[in-house]
Symmetry: C2
Subunit: 291 residues, 2 copies
């Protein structure tokens, strides 16, 4: 098994492509329920284990969530086994057999002689060591909106934010400016290198950037998370570079570019969400309970 | 049924969520086999019919292709029926029951009072009436690479290119410049308004832009196509604005922004592909046979 499997608490069941894990608090949203980022990370990690190849692309559809400590069973199947590329399907179910998430994706053998090239430009930002420490994305959104609200200390590290650290860089220049562009440096608290699975776990933040672009404070229910990957080098910090696209009828879409500390484009992610608008009285609730 | 259903030759079978269609030549690649753009268009169109809602997002995984005139059976299921949002799954199989494509997506009721907003900038390009007529994307790629090769007339309108027209605009300025940025105005030959399903059909062109960004002439086998939608107004022409992201080990990833003639962002699409490099002797073959 991999460091991903350890991070995600994954156990192999002995069935072909069978795994399970518990909804531990670091794999949960702020309200303790299964976090979407966990579902895509599990889909990536189990696909890589089953196919013995690197994940190229993964789409995870969020069908339902599960309460704290629920056991989630995961079945990871190879739909089309190719010499180089495997098309895969991953399904996560709760103990009652209900579907929690469904994923489609592919893994492959990246030709060592195939070139690497990235065709996007990284925003010019301050490095992690010179960026605002101890931030939360939700707190940053409130600050941007000019809202004074101190997140209670006990709400700062609920759920998945227990195991990751956010720092907010200064953005000196942006290659593709527009509303709602936000950047965060993110690392694992234990400073382990970041893999595709853990990057997907960290990057599940599009709803907030889309709400911010539309000019309101909010978040949303993610309908999916899709990630497309390059190769991950030994990076401890990644830059989550959020680029919202569209808001229409209270649904939203956005992308995230994921950069290494050395400025290499590691992955491109995208999400669609159903948006939620928060008002003053919601902040306390949100701080305690929402994803 | 819809204009999409007519375009795609979709028939309802009478089974719940059951449809079928034949791989007619306008739904095929240049070699007559099932075209990936058809698979995502069918997934969008049947999801909208079954749920009576607009598609918000769709990911189609290309598992295999089917020969000319094969009958494809489509099953469109609602995985999670919400008051507003439906999470759906679509599966296409050939007459032997083999999976050709698998899709996950969502449809929803876009709140009429929800704002529309787009957060990207459209490239400044010449309008369709002042753009290079009668182009093919493959021919444009060759021209960009400085390769003199006249596509045989009989190869210019094979497969799906029979029913759509491409024009290549002049790009006056690009908001996010980089290698491989390419734009095409596209419309249906019959000048019917473009829907999300037909836009997805037209935008299945990421491999070419990624190859072009990496500095070689080529294409690729698409592994998936993912589209995220706003609302489509009465647009006859769409601008396919291709933005490649990454090439690594002969796999590639890229996005497409889809704009209306009036400059509204209609959708954002993305694909991952396994890249193919073409050399001189391949062009004739490609012109006749590849997607």
């Amino acid at each position: 098994m991999s460091t991903d499997a350890e991070f995600l608490g994954l156990r192999q069941t002995g069935e072909p492509g069978g795994f399970e894990f518990e909804v531990e608090s670091h794999l949960a949203r702020h309200d303790g329920h299964l976090y979407g980022g966990t579902a895509i990370a599990v889909s990536v990690a189990t696909s890589e284990i089953v196919t013995e190849r690197n994940a190229l692309w993964m789409t995870t559809q969020f069908v339902a969530t599960a309460p704290p400590q629920e056991t989630i069973s995961v079945t990871t199947e190879i739909l089309a086994p190719g010499r180089r590329t495997n098309q895969v399907r991953v399904t996560g179910t709760d103990s009652a057999g209900r579907t929690m998430f469904a994923s489609l994706g592919a893994t492959g053998v990246q030709r060592p002689d195939g070139s690497f090239d990235g065709f996007d430009t990284m925003p010019q930002v301050s490095p992690p060591g010179e960026s605002e420490p101890d931030v939360t994305p939700f707190g940053s959104m409130l600050r941007r909106a000019g809202i004074e609200f101190e997140l209670p200390v006990e709400a700062r590290h609920l759920g998945f934010t227990q195991v990751i650290e956010f720092r907010e860089p200064e953005i000196y220049s942006h290659p593709d400016p527009g509303p709602g562009r936000m950047c965060f440096w993110v690392r694992r608290n234990d400073d382990e290198p970041i893999t595709l699975a853990t990057a997907a776990f960290m990057a599940d933040m599009v709803p907030m950037s889309v709400a911010s672009a539309a000019g309101f404070v909010g978040g949303g229910i993610s309908l999916d998370n899709t990630i497309r990957a390059a190769q991950f080098d030994e990076t401890r910090w990644i830059l989550i570079d959020m680029r919202p696209h569209i808001v229409v009828g209270d649904y939203g879409h956005g992308s995230v570019l994921i950069w290494s500390e050395s400025g290499r484009l590691l992955a491109h992610a995208g999400q669609t969400c159903s948006l939620l608008r928060f008002t003053g009285s919601d902040f306390q609730k949100v701080a305690k309970g929402a994803s």
